[in-house]
């Protein structure tokens, strides 16, 4: 980490410091400022695909997770207009997949669901796509439900950058985009992924799940039963297991 500097940016009128090489998202997280996001996790390379972290920098829209912080930036983040656009993006993510929270085992631990609550999303607004993509339950410990994938590529990056395995990739374009598995059969069982891998745990929704433990944490004790998604310090918690350290 480089030496502290006196360089600053301003987010919603609050002046915060940043270090050379940090993005706006990095600086905001360090200052406990929440910018909604789904495809970003500290420690993985920025991706800029979900667009939820769109902010206005000196009057122009930009992704906070990819734009380097630079002295003098005047940034709007928590505004009604931006949050309205973020809500629309979230609604589109919901209708593009089969996100049925009532029976999904990720409910309460799902970042997509938590962001939707944060943005006061009350309906899907758009017509449902009802996709029918292949469920891969071939692996003894990990399940892949592609109908819930939001194409954030966190698993792709975690497998490549942290696990060193390159198990996942996204193929296709537009509405044909989908998550694929890097093995000859295309099945998880024929990869070297294990339940210890970060890629097996990092999914922000219920697309990649550890088998057999879905409903072990009772309602009322799940991450977002106890915490708001914008709460400082939650990032490493979500990364680790989807379960907060003060849960029992």
């Amino acid at each position: 980490m480089s030496e502290p500097t006196n360089k600053t940016i301003t987010i919603d009128g609050r002046e915060i410091p940043f270090e050379e090489g940090q993005t706006i998202m990095d600086a905001a997280l360090a200052a406990d400022i929440y910018i909604p996001h789904l495809c970003h996790r500290p420690g993985l390379s920025p991706h800029g695909s979900c667009k939820l972290c769109t902010v206005e920098v000196n009057g122009r829209s930009a992704s906070a997770c990819t734009l380097p912080a630079s002295s003098g930036q005047e940034i709007s983040n928590n505004t009604d207009a931006l949050n309205e656009v973020r809500k629309t993006i979230t609604q589109m993510l919901f209708v593009e997949g089969n996100h049925f929270c009532p029976s999904c085992e990720k409910t309460g631990n799902c970042t997509l669901q938590a962001v939707a609550y944060h943005l006061d999303m009350l309906d899907g607004h758009f017509p449902q796509f009802y996709p029918r993509r292949e469920v891969d339950a071939s692996h003894p410990g990990i399940m892949l439900d592609r109908d819930r994938c939001i194409l954030c590529e966190l698993c792709v990056r975690a497998s490549r950058e942290v696990d060193g395995k390159d198990v996942f990739a996204i193929t296709g374009r537009g509405t044909d985009a989908r998550l694929i598995v890097n093995s000859e059969s295309g099945k998880l069982v024929d990869t070297n992924i294990t339940t210890d891998d970060l890629a097996a745990h990092i999914c922000p929704v219920g697309a990649i799940l550890i088998k057999e433990e879905g409903y072990e944490v009772p309602i009322g004790r799940r991450t977002f039963d106890l915490h708001m998604v914008g709460e400082p310090g939650l990032e490493p918690v979500i990364l680790r297991k989807g379960q907060h350290s003060d849960e029992h």
Partner: protein, 485 residues
């Protein structure tokens, strides 16, 4: 159809769970040639659960119903236990599930009697329709109505304490439960149990009094049927786990302590083109004669004894009413339902005082199997959940026989019986209309296990002559007003 035949439809039937309609086919002398209860909703859970992982099933299928989700949750959980090779739970998990289901049955029974059926019994089947509803009960009998609401609330508090929510929570996991009850949670619930027992006793007494003082109720939609239900190895009333017992109307035993995993040997289902609900029957007796009844009336008749003292006393009075034989009065479903409510209240007290309920040993594991069958006595009767999985653990096939399905033929017979007894001429009256619904309501059917629009369902009844012309038409508005077109 003969030229002189005409058809009358009640669509939808009100103050029941879900949507259904009654049709009558009548000749020129107003004799009923055909009476049918149609279930007009199609749910498709058995189909769209296919391809989902088995662990998801108990949470998924409980969405079948907003009144008895716990019963579906637990029936599925019992099937999933078998899929993970578990035949016996830890004492803590077993007692938690029993307590959860007692809470479920208590709240469902209270809802049905006080909210849905008491207006008929307190005010009369043909009484002023503006009063014959839960609001009328609140105005005329506020204390009784309040006790009904509180009884239901207590059952829901138990469900919430165990599953995290009053409706559609999460409790059972493969081979056990995901949490136990803390001492504080037990104490909060124990603080209210004395009132609950008292009110349940009063509800039993009220039903005894109403049934005995109305001789016309005894034959109302009454049938002489077989009964099916789950029973403990000691012959006790049992709603969580036991063997199946079937009795014929004379008290003879068709089978007893039958392992429900072999249900396909003893029960088959017939599909009829005019209803989405199947018609189950005992295989040994065939389609014509093999139909039977389930639910409170079947269970309280079927058992030799109830394990809790107050409910057992009530059961003995119930059976004495039929001189020791079976009580076949369809309206005695209400009475039996309140006896079970008292049984639930007493059982809840016993379990809340049981230290096992706060234990930490929650989950058992075993060797995976490819097929699981879970059966439970839901509030409305015997409930079957049957799942087969593939080698990846995804559901390949699912078969559910929900409680109301087993009463399908009986409800149709009761509608026919009441139609024959009470239909009195060309003019349809709202009172007649309600008599038919009272017969259906006694069974507490959950027609779709889904829709609840209490008091807001519009209803239209048409009398159509042989040429298709509308002779008469009554419309009930959302505010309960009746208008003749």
């Amino acid at each position: 159809m003969s030229e002189q035949m005409r058809r009358i439809a009640i669509d939808p039937v009100t103050r029941v769970e879900g949507h259904g309609k009654i049709t009558l086919l009548m000749d020129a002398e107003n004799r009923v040639h055909e009476a049918r209860l149609h279930i007009v909703e199609f749910r498709g859970f058995e189909k769209f659960i296919q391809g989902r992982p088995y662990g998801e099933v108990p949470t998924f299928v409980q969405r079948l119903c907003g009144i008895c989700p716990v019963s579906h949750h637990l029936a599925a959980a019992k099937a999933v236990d078998q899929l993970v090779g578990v035949d016996a739970l830890t004492p803590t998990s077993l007692k938690l599930r029993q307590l959860l289901h007692f809470g479920q049955t208590l709240q469902s029974h209270a809802l049905h009697f006080f909210h849905l059926s008491s207006p008929d019994l307190l005010f009369g089947f043909g009484s002023d329709v503006a009063q014959r509803n839960i609001v009328g009960v609140i105005e005329k009998h506020p204390e009784l109505a309040l006790k009904g609401v509180k009884l239901r609330k207590y059952g829901q508090q138990i469900i919430a304490a165990i599953s995290g929510k009053r409706v559609h929570g999460s409790a059972a996991v493969p081979g056990g439960m995901n949490k136990s009850l803390s001492r504080e949670e037990r104490n909060v619930l124990l603080a209210g149990i004395a009132d609950i027992k008292q009110w349940a006793q009063e509800a039993v007494a009220l039903n005894e009094q109403v049934h005995m003082s109305h001789p016309e109720n005894h034959s109302f939609g009454a049938l002489n049927t077989h009964f099916l239900g789950m029973i403990s190895p000691k012959g006790e009333l049992e709603i969580y786990h036991g063997g199946l017992r079937a009795r014929d109307p004379d008290g003879g035993t068709l089978f007893d302590q039958f392992d429900y995993r072999g249900y396909q040997e003893i029960i088959r289902e017939e599909v009829r083109p005019w209803s989405y609900m199947k018609f189950p029957y005992f295989t040994a007796l065939g389609k014509e004669n093999g139909w039977y009844r389930v639910g409170p009336l079947a269970r309280v008749n079927n058992c030799d004894v109830i394990s809790t003292p107050l409910a057992e006393e009530a059961r003995q009075r119930f059976r004495a009413f039929a001189d020791g034989g079976f009580v076949q009065d369809t309206l005695a479903y209400h009475w039996a339902r309140m006896i079970e409510t008292l049984y639930c209240a007493e059982s809840i007290e016993l379990l809340l005082n049981d230290e096992d309920i706060s234990g930490n040993d929650l989950v058992v594991t075993g060797e995976k199997r490819s097929e699981g069958i879970g059966v439970i006595e839901a509030p409305r009767g015997t409930l079957f959940h049957h799942y087969k999985i593939d080698e990846q653990g995804l559901i390949e096939k699912a078969n559910l026989i929900v409680s109301t399905t087993s009463n399908n033929q009986a409800m149709n017979e009761s509608v026919r019986s009441v139609a024959n007894e009470y239909l009195d001429g060309n003019e349809i009256t709202e009172g007649l209309l309600n008599h038919l619904e009272v017969a259906v309501r006694a069974y507490d059917p959950c027609l779709s296990c889904a829709t609840h629009a209490l008091g807001k369902m519009p209803l239209q009844v048409e009398l159509i002559d042989a040429d298709g012309a509308v002779v008469d038409c009554l419309t009930k508005g959302v505010n309960g007003s009746i208008e003749r077109a």
